[in-house]
């Protein structure tokens, strides 16, 4: 997990164990809260298959990141993986995607500043 300003960059590689994916989900939530990151970029260009288990984890990461006032962008999905996911019936609604990390960072930059309650409260104080 790499930090670039307000953004956490996560690179997934190879064949993930279920337990590794679950651990990542927990670690990310904690890191967002600890670091105050407003964006998460998950690079899946090195991932050869996404089954319903990993698909569900990715959707949940996007959901929980949203609840923690940050946004997730999934980057670099392989064409064969996208084709398979659609046929599987998993289109990951609610998950933002980009074709490259640069585009994802730009996307997150445009949508910052967030309407974080913590931030607003600090301004009023």
């Amino acid at each position: 997990m790499l930090r670039l300003g307000e953004v956490l960059l996560v690179t997934l590689q190879g064949d993930l164990h279920d337990s590794t994916a679950q651990q990542l989900q927990e670690d990310l939530a904690e890191t967002i809260v600890r670091s105050g990151a407003t964006g998460v970029v998950i690079d899946v260009s090195g991932v050869e298959i996404v089954d319903s288990f990993l698909g569900r984890i990715l959707a949940e990461i996007a959901g929980q990141t949203g609840l923690l006032a940050a946004r997730t962008v999934l980057v670099g999905m392989r064409p064969a993986v996208a084709i398979t996911l659609v046929e599987l019936g998993l289109t990951l609604p609610g998950v933002h995607t980009a074709l490259s990390t640069e585009v994802a960072m730009e996307l997150l930059r445009q949508q910052a500043p967030s309407s974080r309650f913590g931030g607003l409260r600090q301004e009023r104080l």
């Binding site: 064949d15 164990h17 046929e87 599987l88």
Partner: protein, 146 residues
């Protein structure tokens, strides 16, 4: 139709580590038989769904791989077996959205869409066997419903 020589194998499915071996083995076998990248990915994904079902609902079991030849066409058959509690209502288990454990309920129905042939045998108390086959270069089967 007869079984092609070699690379028949039987793998245990006892842990999520075994799921990784299953995926790697199916990927390698499919690549050797000449499956294209998209078809490899579909078959590996189907295998992952079915192996996870074997692990989670069947309490563990095995996957057997069998390379096939029909005329000049090569294929790969995967058989997932467990001695678990079995599935009381197959129709319900095959419908999307149905799940009795972890996952999105896409395991069986989703896997069926990713392969050319799909067969399942199960009854309460007598375990579950799922057999899927895909053929190199054959177009996907038509959609059942739109």
């Amino acid at each position: 139709m007869h079984t092609a020589a070699g690379s028949q194998a039987r793998l245990p499915i006892r842990s999520d580590m075994d799921l990784v071996w299953v995926r790697q083995h199916v990927r390698q076998a499919a690549a050797q038989l000449g499956f294209g990248l998209v078809d490899q990915t579909k078959l590996v994904t189907a295998a992952s769904e079915l192996a996870r079902n074997t692990l989670v609902y069947g309490g563990g079991g095995t996957m057997e791989t069998e390379p096939l030849v029909e005329g000049t066409t090569h294929g790969l058959r995967l058989t997932f077996s467990d001695d678990g509690p079995g599935i009381p209502d197959l129709e319900q288990a095959l419908s999307d959205g149905f799940t009795s454990g972890d996952g999105l309920g896409m395991g069986l129905g989703g896997a069926r869409r990713l392969v050319h042939e799909f067969g399942i045998e199960s009854a309460p108390g007598s375990g579950t066997t799922v057999r899927v086959t895909s053929w190199v270069g054959r177009p996907p089967r038509p959609r059942e419903e739109s």
